[in-house]
Amino acid sequence: MAHTIALAGNPNSGKTSLFNELTGSTQYVGNWPGVTVEKKEGYIRSDKRYMVVDLPGIYSLSPYTLEEVVTRDYLIDGKPDLIINVVDATNLERNLYLTTQLIETGIPVLIALNMIDIIHKNGDHIDTKKLSGMLDCPIVETSAVSRAGLKELVKTATHLIEVAEGGGKPAKFSAPVEKPVSSIMHLIEGAVPPETLRWYAIKLYERDEKVMQRLTISAEIRHQIASIVEESETELDDSAESIITNERYEYLTDVTTQCHQRKRKSGTLSTSDRIDRIVTNRFLALPIFFLIMWGVYFVSIQSIGDLFIGWIEWLFTDIIGAGIGSLLAAVGTSEWLMGLVVDGIIAGVGSVLTFVPQMMILFFFLSLMEDVGYMARVAFIMDRIFRKFGLSGKSFIPMLIGTGCSVPAIMASRTIENQRDRRMTVMLTPFIPCGAKLPVFALLVGAFFPNSAWIASSMYLLGILAVIVSGIVLKKTRAFAGEPAPFVMELPAYHMPRLKGVAIHMWERGKQFIKKAGTIIAVASAGIWILQSTSWSLQMVETQESILASLGRLIAPLFAPLGFGSWEVAVATITGLLAKETIVATFGIVLGLGNVAEGDPTLLASIGSYFNSVSAYAFMIFTLFAAPCAAAIGATRREMQSARWTWAAILFQSGVAYIAALAVYQIGSLLFL
């Protein structure tokens, strides 16, 4: 019979590394049902009888955030056999704060005292044996980085489960607090499982909303509890929540002063502090940030990444495409089917996969920055701007990633704790121009504004403006209104990147991107190819007579007020839903030029007949804001965990695109033509 071990701990405690070490490739990543909180499960590599559930990184078990509620509910209802509590030894008090609450749930706890190597390096000392005795909880020293203690951890964990033991002793509060808590415990005896009695009593004392809802106790008892709490609050002149928090930390300060000796006197700067003196310096912070981002983009998109693009294009068109083409021809496949496979699916998938190397390199750098601890500094620096429209500095990172590609950007919004903020970030991130939109801009700028370099940059500015304005507007709507989520964020100490973790992270993001390309885009490519080469009478035809063309003609009038009401452009917009890169390719195809790129002179010349300068700019704006490519929509669906929200995002983005392009064309025509 499989046993379950829950892995709990603070963010930045090394919990994820530990989970990776324990479960390796057996891990499965999903979501907790119905919420946008990630759930990771896996089996212990060395002993597959034990399943490990990685709980979200949390600081406490309050009722206020999704992560905490999901964790509490899992511990109380799911009843794992053991909790391995990952405690960051360099941050003992705050980490043990969670420990006291985990112990109260009545589930056996085993502490993994992590990052013990850093303690030794600093010359500090923790009396683990004494600490274990005071908490009455087994402790294993670990260092996920050096894999020390891992074997012992597993051995201890499995042993504890077998003998059904494990710690620890709940924190003892001072007498004025113990008394009311004990009284409440008496009152609810029998209403809850005995091992959870203290947990429930403390939560009731704190007036925990969620607990009060889920307990079936009589109104009489509720009333009694309420008066006990009120009396206590008056006596101690403080709110119940505050009282309990204070009690916990008082208890912990007492424990840690007896067990933890610091070598460094408080007041002297640690290495992290010294680095931050420069990195978050008032004058240097922003320039340093831009320099780093410029470097990252230069390497991933331009120099190294660029090398790969040509290579992959060659691989897909000349090798795979031609190879499969001749194979199919050799077996006498119909021209239609050959076209579908080679020009449709392979070309379609290939055009998106050409971006994979660039994406991987970009993800690598971003994961590196996250692992080292720099991303927290970025959120710290940018918070002021985002606070204006109800978000926080944490929303900046997805948008930053969005300048490369929206797909990993949308996935990066997972780090935002507040669900409402997360959803808004996911909706607004695609407004930032992604790499795939650049060829479209390049084409139109080349054809209509060859001497104005600022037109292309204006797209970035407009993207940012759209994010800001939409943010402010959306904040006023009912769906997003409400208390701003607290921005109380730890700035973890910098540490040397764990390349293994970074590589896993990078691979996870890249894999998502490839999987989406493989499935959605293959299907969509096939679909669009069929539509563009088949007529209604199901015969192979030139694009002008295809189903796609007639669909284009059907919706073209919609775009007439925007200045580009021709079916050719309408068709390009439709294929743009598949992947923004295909817009240029589609122009090439419908204009009868075959497979061309945005620099092609014939294309530049022919495009002139479909736009004028104002409508060209309007089209650029439309492309900038409209719903993103199929892969990004897929990522949106995954992060929103709701079809309704995904549609809301698509409609919102397309709505903004339409109105903006309309305004630009109508007003622009009056002013400039």
Partner: protein, 74 residues
């Protein structure tokens, strides 16, 4: 005075955490409780938030929230 008025370099002791709700709870959960010492490390380049040292680690919080924490300068 409140934590919001403290300047980089100041070390203060917390007297009381005013207010209630998610933000206050989060602040307390992170270790800012009655009697604990806080050092103000710096202010972010754009003027907000603050970075403080509390219980041996670095925490950033917004000025608006810092004004809810009554402190006494050491």
């Amino acid at each position: 005075m409140t934590l919001g008025e403290a300047r980089p370099g100041d070390t203060v002791v917390v007297r009381k955490v005013q207010g209630a709700g998610p933000t206050m709870r989060r602040i307390m959960d992170m270790g800012i409780t009655k009697g604990c010492q806080i050092s103000v490390r710096k202010i972010a380049p754009l003027g907000d938030p603050l970075e403080v040292t509390v219980r041996g680690y670095e925490l950033s919080l917004r000025k608006a929230d810092a004004t809810m924490i009554a402190v006494e300068k050491l």
